[in-house]
Amino acid sequence: MVVRMRTRRLGRTVLAASLAVALAGLAACSSSSSGSGDKSLTYWSMWKVGEPAQKVMATAIADFQKETGIKVDVQWQGRTNVDKLVPALNTRKVPDLVDQSYIKLYSVLVASSQVRGLPDAYADKVDGATAVSGLVPARYTKNIDITLDGGERWMVPYLLTSDGIWYDKSQHPDIASNPPKTWTEFITLLDKLKAAGGPAPIALDGDITGYNPYWFNTLMERILGPGSWMKIVSDKSGDAWDDPGVLDAAKKVEQLAKGHYFINGYGASKWPAQQQAWASHKASLLFMGSWAPTETGTYAAKGFQYASFPFPATASGRMSARADFIGFAVPKKAKNSSAAQQLAAFLMSKKYQQAFGAEAKQLPVRSDVTVAPDLADVQKALNSAPETYQQNDGVAFPGYNEKVFWPVDDDLVLGKISAEEFVHKLKDATVEYWKQQS
C-alpha cells in the first residue's frame, strides 16, 4: 500500500515537472526576440581552456551573448571533441555547434550523413557589410569540397592550417636572405649544415606516425601535383603506382633518411623530444605545420625568431601550399541550428579573425587580416602559391592512413626500407586493401 502511494505521488511529481518544463519551453518560444527564435546553443569546442585561441574564442562568445542575447553553453573539450561527438550523435543530446579540422569533421559528420547545410550562416552579413560566402576564398574551396549533394555548404571555415620548413632567423640569417627554392638547393643547404658539424640539419619526431608522411606527401604534391595522391590511392587495380613520379618522391625521402640529415635518434625518441631539440638549437630545420610557433613557444631558446620557407620545388617546377580548414559544423539533430549558424558567422567578423591571427598565432581564413610576425612567412607563401592542397591530399578511406600507408611510410622515413621496396609494398598493400573493402 505504501509502495503504491509512493508510486502515485512520484507519478504526480513527474507529471507536474514535465508540465512545468513544457510551459517554460512555450514561454521561451513566445518571448523570443531574435529572428532565429533560439535562446541558447551548446558548443563543443576543439580548444582547451588556457590556449591562446581559446581566449580569443571566449571573448568572441562573450560579445556574441551580449549582442544577440543568445546564451552560449561552451564546453572546452579540446581536440578529442569529435571523438566524443560520434556516440553523442546516436542520442538526442547533440551539441548545436562543433569545430575541428575538415578531415575530422568530414569523417565523423559527413561520411555518416549527420551534418546540416548552413545557408543561414553563409547568407549572414558580417560587420554589417559582406556576406560570409564572400569571405571564404574560392581558391581553398576549389580543393576542399564543403558542399553537400544539394549544393549547400556544411562547414564555415574560420582558420587555416598550412606548413613550412621552420628555422630560427637569428641563427640563420643566410637562410632568411636566400631560402632554398629547389630540391637541389635544399640538399646543398642540408649538406652545408651537416658539414658545419654543429646542430643536426633536420629535427623530426619520428614516433609521430602522422608527421612522417609530410615528406612523401609534399613531394607528391610537388612532383605530380594536387589530387595525384588521391588518384593513385583510389586506383583499385594498383596500376597508378607505376607512375615514375611515385618512385621519384620515395627516392627523395630515402635520400634524406640514408643521407643522415635527420637528427640522431629520430626513430627512437618520444615526442616532443626532437622538436624540443630543434627549439633549443640542436637542429636547424623543422618541417612542421603552422602551429609550430604556438606548440614550441614555451620551450624555445631565448631570442628564437620563428621564420619559415616553403617546401622546395622539384624538377617539375610545380609550387603549391598546404591549406586545411578548421571550421564549424552543425549536426543534423541540433535543436538550435539557427543560433549555431549565427555564432559561426559571427566569428568571421574582422575583429576576431584579426585576434586569431595576431594573438592566437593562427592563420585566419579571411585574406584581409594580418598575422603575428611568427606566421608572416607562412601566410606569404600561402597567399602567393598558385595552387593549394589538403593534408594527405584528402585521402580518408576507412583505416587506410593508419593501417596501410603510415606503417610503410614510417619504414621509409626511418631508413628501414628502400624507395623501391616502399612503392612495391604500398602498391601491394593498397590493392589488398581495396580487395578487402569490396
Binding site: 619526431d205 592512413n401 614510417d410
Partner: protein, 328 residues
C-alpha cells in the same frame, strides 16, 4: 611422508550428480517446508535487480556490439549490412593478426614472467626481515597510472635520456636505440611485468599467509629447501588463489591499452607504431582513428573476437586449473 602433496577426492562423484538431477526432475511438486518456500519467494527480489542491471549494462551492449559488427557503419547514421564479411576481413588483415599475437604475448609471456617471479617472491617474502615494507614497495608500481610509465619511458629512454646519460657516464657511447619501433614492444612487456608484479604478489602472499605455520615447521624438520617448500606446500595450498589470479590476469591482459597508447608516441597526434598494437588498440584506432572515416563494424568485430578469445581462455584455464578447495 609429511610432505606428500595433499590430494583430495572430488567431493561429488559423477554418479551422485546424475542421481541428484534425476531426483530433481522426478519430483514435480516443489519441496515444501516454510523455509524453502520463503527462500523461493525471495529469489526474484534478491537476484532480480542484479540480474536486470547485468542484462542492461553488460549483456545488452554486447548484443548491440554483435549487431554493429555485422554492418558497415561510421558511428552514426545509416548502417549497411555486411554479414560476416567484417570478421572474414579481419582474419585476412595482417595488422589485426599481429595485434592479436601481441595480446597473446602479453597474456602468456608476461603472465608467465609475473607468476614465476611472484612465486619466487612469496618464498623470499614470507620470512624476510621488513617484509611489510618490501610488500608495500612491490605493490607501489601498480598504484601508479600506466600513463606515468608511458611518459617516464621518454625521460629514461630518449636519445638524450637518463639511460643513455648513465651509459655515456661509464664510457659507453654506442648506445642502443631504446625506443626504436622494434624494441618498443619488448620494453612494454618488461614495464607491464614490473607494474603488475606487486599486485599479484600481494594476492598470492595473502594466500600464503593463510597456510598454517606448522607446515613450514614440518618443512624445516624434514630439511626441505626453498623449491621443495614451494612445490609441496605453497603451490598446492594456494592453488585456488593462483587460479583466480590467472583468470584476473587473462581478463586484464586482453584489455591492455593505455600503456601502449602512451608508450608509442600517440600523445602528440596519430597512433602508436603498429608493431606495438594489441587487439584493444586495433579496435580503438579503427573506431576513433581521427584521420579517416570511422569503421565501427570492423572495430566491434575485433572487440567481439577479443571477447570470444578471453571467454575461451578463461573456460580453458578454469578447467585446467580445477582442483577442489582444500580446507585447513
Amino acid at each position: 611422508m609429511a610432505l606428500a602433496p595433499p590430494r583430495v577426492a572430488r567431493s561429488r562423484p559423477p554418479e551422485v550428480e546424475t542421481a541428484a538431477r534425476a531426483q530433481r526432475t522426478r519430483r514435480r511438486p516443489r519441496p515444501g517446508g516454510p523455509f524453502a518456500r520463503e527462500r523461493r519467494r525471495l529469489f526474484v527480489p534478491f537476484v532480480g535487480p542484479a540480474l536486470l542491471l547485468y542484462l542492461v549494462l553488460f549483456v545488452a551492449p554486447i548484443g548491440g556490439a554483435v549487431w554493429i559488427s555485422l554492418h558497415k557503419w561510421p558511428g552514426s547514421g545509416p548502417m549497411q549490412w555486411r554479414g560476416l564479411r567484417n570478421y572474414r576481413r579481419l582474419m585476412h588483415d595482417h595488422l589485426f593478426l599481429t595485434s592479436l599475437t601481441n595480446t597473446l604475448k602479453l597474456l602468456l609471456v608476461v603472465g608467465a614472467a609475473i607468476f614465476v617471479i611472484s612465486f619466487a617472491l612469496t618464498v623470499v617474502l614470507r620470512d624476510m626481515a621488513g617484509k611489510r615494507g618490501a610488500r608495500a614497495v612491490l605493490l607501489f608500481p601498480f598504484l601508479i597510472n600506466p600513463i606515468v610509465f608511458g611518459v617516464l619511458a621518454g625521460f629514461i629512454f630518449n636519445p638524450g635520456g637518463l639511460a643513455n646519460s648513465l651509459l655515456h657516464g661509464i664510457g659507453i657511447h654506442d648506445t642502443p636505440n631504446w625506443l626504436d619501433r622494434d624494441n618498443m614492444f619488448p620494453l612494454i612487456m618488461v614495464t607491464m611485468t614490473w607494474m603488475t608484479l606487486g599486485y599479484f604478489t600481494t594476492i598470492l602472499m595473502a594466500g600464503v599467509d593463510r597456510i598454517p605455520a606448522y607446515y613450514f615447521e614440518d618443512c624445516e624438520l624434514a630439511g626441505a629447501n626453498a623449491w621443495q617448500r614451494l612445490r609441496y606446500v605453497v603451490l598446492p595450498l594456494t592453488w585456488d588463489v593462483f587460479a583466480v589470479c590467472a583468470v584476473l590476469w587473462t581478463v586484464t591482459s586482453v584489455k591492455i591499452f593505455e600503456i601502449i597508447w602512451i608508450f608509442g608516441g600517440a600523445n602528440g597526434s596519430g597512433t602508436p607504431p603498429t608493431q606495438t598494437w594489441t587487439s584493444a588498440v586495433y579496435s580503438y584506432v579503427t573506431a576513433f582513428s581521427g584521420e579517416s572515416i570511422p569503421a565501427y563494424g570492423d572495430a566491434t568485430a575485433s572487440a567481439i573476437i577479443s571477447l570470444l578469445l578471453v571467454s575461451v581462455l578463461v573456460v580453458l584455464l578454469r578447467r585446467v586449473m580445477r582442483r577442489d578447495a582444500i580446507h585447513f
